[in-house]
C-alpha cells in the first residue's frame, strides 16, 4: 500500500526520530500496594500497568501441573486506550497476545520450583500507541522481578519494521498503520535466546536479517533501563546510613 503521507524523509521519520532511535521509555517498579509485584511503564505514547500475583495454588484445579507452575499472563486493553472506544473484554487479538507473552515468560521463570502453582501476570494497557505487546512484556518482566519470583533472566521485547523501504527500530502509530512490515521480538538478553518472534507484513530475507539485528540492539538498550528501574526502587527503598 502506498501512503499519501511520507513516513520517511531526509533521514528522519515522521516523528523526527532517526531510523535506529527508540521512543522515550520510563519504567517504575513496585507501584501497586496490593500486588506482590508491579510495574508502570511509559514507552512513547504507550502506558502500561502490570501486576503480578502468586505463586499461589492454581485454580481451577485441573489446570494444575504436578511438576511445575503455570504462567497466566492476561493482556487487556482499556476501553479508553484507543481513539475509538475498544469493546471491553477479551477478543481474538488480546487472547493471542496473552498466549505468546505467557509462553515467553514461562521460558525464563524457574517454574519447576512451584509445582501445582500459578503465577498470574495482569497486563493492563491504559494508553496505546503501537507496540503494546513489547511494552507489556517488558513491563511484565520488571513486575516479576519485583514480586521476587526466581528467574533465569529478565526478558525484554522490542520491535523493528519497514517503512518506505527503510528498516527502522520501534515503530510508532502511523508507521505501524501505514508501514510495510512490523517485527516484534522478545529475547533473553543474557543468552540471546529468542522468546517471541512475530511478523506482520512482508520482508525479504536480507531485510528480515537487518530488522532482526536492529530489534535485538533495541532490546539490549531497554534491558539496561529495566535493570536500572529495579535497582533504583530497591536501593532508595532500603534507606540511608
Amino acid at each position: 500500500m502506498k501512503s499519501e503521507i511520507k513516513l520517511f524523509e531526509n533521514g528522519k521519520r515522521i516523528d523526527g526520530r532517526k531510523p535506529d532511535e527508540l521512543r522515550s521509555i520510563s519504567i517504575k517498579a513496585g507501584v501497586l500496594h496490593r500486588a506482590e509485584g508491579s510495574c508502570y511503564l511509559e514507552w512513547g505514547g504507550n502506558k502500561v500497568m502490570v501486576a503480578v500475583y502468586g505463586p499461589r495454588e492454581a485454580i481451577p484445579r485441573h489446570t494444575q501441573n504436578p511438576l511445575r507452575a503455570i504462567v497466566n499472563a492476561r493482556y487487556n486493553m482499556a476501553a479508553f486506550s484507543v481513539d475509538d472506544r475498544k469493546r471491553p473484554g477479551p477478543d481474538r487479538r488480546s487472547r493471542e497476545i496473552s498466549k505468546v507473552i505467557s509462553e515467553a515468560l514461562e521460558n525464563v521463570i524457574l517454574v519447576e520450583k512451584f509445582p501445582r502453582a500459578s503465577i498470574d501476570v495482569n497486563i493492563e494497557v491504559l494508553d496505546a500507541e503501537a507496540g503494546t505487546r513489547c511494552a507489556g512484556l517488558t513491563a511484565a518482566a520488571v513486575a516479576l522481578v519485583d514480586a521476587g519470583i526466581p528467574m533465569k533472566d529478565i526478558p525484554v521485547a522490542c520491535a523493528a519494521g519497514k517503512i518506505d523501504n527503510q528498516i527502522v527500530l520501534d515503530l510508532g502509530k502511523d508507521e505501524d498503520n501505514y508501514g510495510d512490515a512490523d517485527l516484534p521480538i522478545a529475547i533473553s538478553p543474557r543468552t540471546g535466546e529468542i522468546l517471541l518472534l512475530q511478523m506482520d507484513g512482508h520482508l525479504t530475507q536480507e531485510e528480515f536479517d537487518r530488522a532482526f539485528d536492529l530489534a535485538i540492539k533495541g532490546c539490549h538498550i531497554i534491558s539496561d533501563l529495566q535493570k536500572k528501574a529495579i535497582l533504583e526502587k530497591y536501593q532508595s527503598d532500603t534507606g540511608g546510613i
Partner: protein, 226 residues
Amino acid sequence: MDKDKREIVIPSQFLGEIKNKKSGKGTFVENGKIYAEILGVLSDSSNYINVIPLKGRYDPTEKDFVIGIVIEAMASSWLVDINAAYPALLHVNEVPWNIEFGETERYLNQGDSIMAKVLQVDQEKKLQITLKDHNLYKIKGGYILHVEPSKVPRIIGKKGSMISLLKKYTKCRIFVGQNGRIWIDGDEDGIKKVIETIDMIEDESLSYGLTNKIEELLKKDTKVVH
C-alpha cells in the same frame, strides 16, 4: 561495594565462577558460571555464594514456627493460610484436643489465627502443620503484623538478640513466625512501640550493627517515659 551496606543483585546478574565458589541459595549455574535467580541481597561467604531474597512468598521448611490463619474447616481437618504458595493442611490428629468427626468448627473456625509448626513438606510441596508442640495454641487477642518473610532473621537478631531487646524494653509478648507474621500482645503503648521499631528494622535491614542502634533508640524512649 559499600562497606556499611549490602549489595543488591537482580536475576541474571553474574556472581562468580563455579571453580572458585559453590553456588548456594538463590543462585543457579550455567556453563560453569554462577548467576542470581532472584532479587535479593548478596551474601558472599567463604565457600558459598548466596542470595537472600528481598521479597517473595514464604518458602516453608520443616520445623519452622509459623502463624497461620484458618481458611476453611473441613470434616477432619483444616486448611490454613501460612503465607506460602499453597495452603497448609492441619489434621485433627495434629491438634491437642479430642475432636469427634465433623466437629472441627467448634474448635477452630475460618478467620482464627494459630501458632503452628510446619510438620511436613513433600516433593509436590504439599504442606502439613501441627499444633502438637510446646507453646503452640490458638491466638486470642493481640495484634498480628505482616513483614517480608526474608526480613524475619533480622527482626529476631543474632541468637534472638533483637527480639529479646524488644521484649525487655516494651514489656510485650511477641511471637515471630518464620512466615513473616508477628504476633504482639501487651498494653497499647507497648504494641505501638513494637510496631514502630519493627518498621524501622525493616527499612534499615540492609545496614550493619542494627541491634546496637535499636537498643540506643529504645533506651532513649524509655528514659523519656520515666
